[in-house]
């Protein structure tokens, strides 16, 4: 039974390579596994250089596909998260909550739902009506504005969500995003018809997060 609100530390990593961010995530996961008392819940915020990543379902993305995408000038990573292929790049706010679900609710299904609700809540503060669908993620109509893909081991979460702010959307033309044929992608900038950088989205995302997860945020 959780008494009082869980505390979550916000760590802003800025523009960081995908590989480096993976290492930072691992360090924070290890902190959770090593600690005997309070689990150090952390929210990592960053932006990546252009990179395509895939999850544990590797079969649809053989080495030829990897080569094809790398030839376009992006990096490529095979990860241990759920979800199919997605793109990360400048202008996209990437958020990696490294949480111990024991501080919240020990259900991955619940956690993903709360992430979706957080982003929907954030979108509404921009005046954007977003929603969920049978495909995990946050949608504006038939266009995905935020992708979600996570990993959970011993109740410690990693990976997270990727919100398109003023991303160069042409990178998504090279893939079937999240393996969903026939649906598109969008961004805060596209929906609002003006430039919305990740910096503008960060405080709104954090506010929505504290409300939805009923937690307190601390900063470095």
């Amino acid at each position: 039974m959780s008494v009082g609100k869980a505390a979550v530390k916000v760590v802003r990593l800025g523009r960081i390579s995908y590989r480096s961010a993976l290492e930072v995530q691992q360090q924070h996961i290890k902190q959770h596994m090593d600690s005997c008392s309070t689990s150090p819940n952390t929210l990592l915020l960053c932006e990546h250089e252009p990179v395509y990543t895939i999850g544990i379902r590797q079969a649809p993305y053989p080495p030829e596909e990897e080569q094809r995408l790398k030839a376009l000038g992006a990096d490529f990573f095979r990860t241990n998260r759920g979800g199919l292929i997605t793109f990360h790049g400048p202008g996209q706010l990437v958020c990696y909550p490294i949480l111990n679900l024991a501080c919240f609710k020990k259900s991955v299904r619940w956690y993903v739902c709360e992430l979706e609700r957080t982003v929907i809540k954030m979108c509404s503060t921009f005046g954007i009506e977003a929603s969920t669908s049978p495909d995990t993620g946050v949608w504006v109509g038939n266009h995905k504005i935020c992708a979600i893909g996570i990993h959970c081991g011993r109740y410690i979460t990693s990976h997270g969500l990727a919100l398109n702010c003023n991303t160069d959307m042409s990178w998504f033309d090279n893939i079937v995003p999240c393996g969903i044929v026939g649906k598109g992608v969008t961004s805060l900038s596209r929906e609002l018809g003006r430039d919305v950088p990740p910096e503008e989205a960060i405080p709104k995302l954090l506010e929505a997060f504290t409300e939805q997860f009923n937690c307190t945020l601390t900063y470095n």
Binding site: I56, R81, S107, V112, C113, C152, R154
Partner: protein
């Protein structure tokens, strides 16, 4: 003649005769004997424990004739949501208790699986490749994940029985 063999085997060694008895069909007295032996065996040795045992990570294991079948509990499958992919090990993989042996994907989340016992993988449920939803629909039966040998039978004694697992779930649902 066959009947004498069955009875002699039963009186000499219950455990070693059990698989033979259970494989015979049609001989009614033999079948009755098998059932009686089976019950007696359960109470005297864990080697033929056919009851479910549980880990604190919500995997179950059932040992039958030295082969352990492993799956996830109803609590676990509900907490995951609809399973869309099962990442399982190859046959022949050697695992220690608590080793990560695979992952299940649901709602774009990959959740690790932890091995309940030490042993070697002898079988993987191929039905899950085309029908991963079996893990949700039939978590204790058709949705089994792997079968493995039992290198350290004593590890079973450290796992929760069904009643203890029910209490465990109640305690974490607070």
């Amino acid at each position: 003649m066959a009947m004498c063999t069955i009875l002699r085997c039963a009186s000499v060694s219950l455990t070693s005769s059990l698989p033979r008895l259970s494989n015979r069909n049609a001989v009614t007295p033999g079948r009755l004997l098998a059932r009686t032996c089976y019950k007696r065996t359960l109470s005297t040795t864990t080697r033929f424990c056919a009851a479910l045992k549980f880990t604190d990570k919500h995997e179950w294991v059932r040992v039958d004739s030295g082969v352990a079948t492993v799956g996830i509990s109803n609590f676990a499958q509900e907490a995951l949501g609809d399973v869309v992919y099962c990442g399982l090990p190859e046959v022949g993989t050697k695992l220690a208790q608590s080793d990560e042996f695979g992952a299940l994907e649901s709602v774009k989340a990959a959740s690790e699986l932890y091995c309940p016992l030490t042993g070697e993988v002898t079988d993987v449920n191929d039905a899950l490749a085309d029908n991963p939803g079996l893990v949700n629909k039939s978590c204790y039966k058709d949705g089994w994940l792997i079968k493995m040998t039992v290198s350290v039978p004593e590890e079973l004694d450290g796992l929760m029985d069904e009643a203890a697992y029910e209490r465990y779930i109640k305690s974490i649902e607070d």
